[in-house]
Symmetry: C2
């Protein structure tokens, strides 16, 4: 619950529920290793080949290899053969699956926050543009009734269908 | 560039630009350690005290202590004194700063994706609700012209004001 009001004396309601099946924790077990989001940045930006990703991201080869394998294992990326421009044997590049494409709001939200707080004085090096109209694209909170949620304090977590009471 | 069309023979445009000042990488240097997003989940859910966060998240005490210190150092969380219910000396709890609150779209986007792909059969344990109307809240892509971006393929990255050519 995003509040910053007077001191509460009640225990937070969330503590009554288990986190063992938490979807945030589950997602972060897949995405939360160092470098994984940067690898996804590269592929979302059209950089798909191992050597290109390695040089552009600066990740160590073994780290990159490990992160790519995990993203393929989780069907976020898939390997597609290509034939190098200069000829030679077919090699593999990495493309987003439908499940991987669904991570774009995560990447956009990280980019928005990073641009706001960690950009160099000249601004962020990349922005996302709407192909249809050219306007910058951001990640925003919206509710299913169609309201834009301007302030996170308008949002309250509540138990979902998979909520389980915590053994105490 | 989010495309999945015919084999390209051109080099990806992104490779011409440096990633040294990338806002995604900068953000992930702060957020990308194991457990950090789970710690933020706890605080966004109103769980603010060290022992509560530790027990609810299952993170090791040393890991949690380290993550909290880094989040405070980056002014994402701030420490606020409280007096325990049973009396005794004042202790500290962790609250989101304005900069921390701005991470809610990141958390919501991770939760959405996790709920879609990693929820248990009965569904996710937590959902986000709009206080105003009760409808579920999600992270969505929107452009500054007000268009909802339904498909990530409608988004193209482009060089921003801080783009720097890469030394080759």
């Amino acid at each position: 619950m995003v509040t910053d009001g007077p001191e509460h004396t009640e225990r937070p309601a969330a503590l009554a529920f288990s986190t063992e099946n938490c979807q945030v924790a589950a997602a972060m077990r897949v995405l939360g290793e160092r470098g994984t989001i940067v690898v996804l940045r590269e592929v979302f930006n059209g950089v798909r080949r191992f050597d290109d990703i390695q040089q552009h991201s600066g990740l160590a080869r073994q780290v990159l290899s490990d992160r790519l394998a995990r993203l393929v294992e989780h069907a976020i990326l898939r390997r597609v053969p290509y034939r190098p421009e200069g000829g030679g044997r077919a090699r593999l590049e990495y493309r987003l699956t439908a499940k991987g494409l669904e991570l774009y709001p995560v990447l956009a939200a990280v980019a928005d926050w990073g641009a706001r707080h960690y950009a160099s004085p000249d601004g962020p090096p990349v922005e996302l543009a709407h192909r249809g109209c050219g306007a910058p694209v951001h990640a925003a909170l919206v509710c299913e009734a169609g309201h834009a949620v301007e302030d996170p304090r308008e949002v309250a977590p509540r138990p979902g269908p998979g909520a389980r009471r915590r053994a105490s």
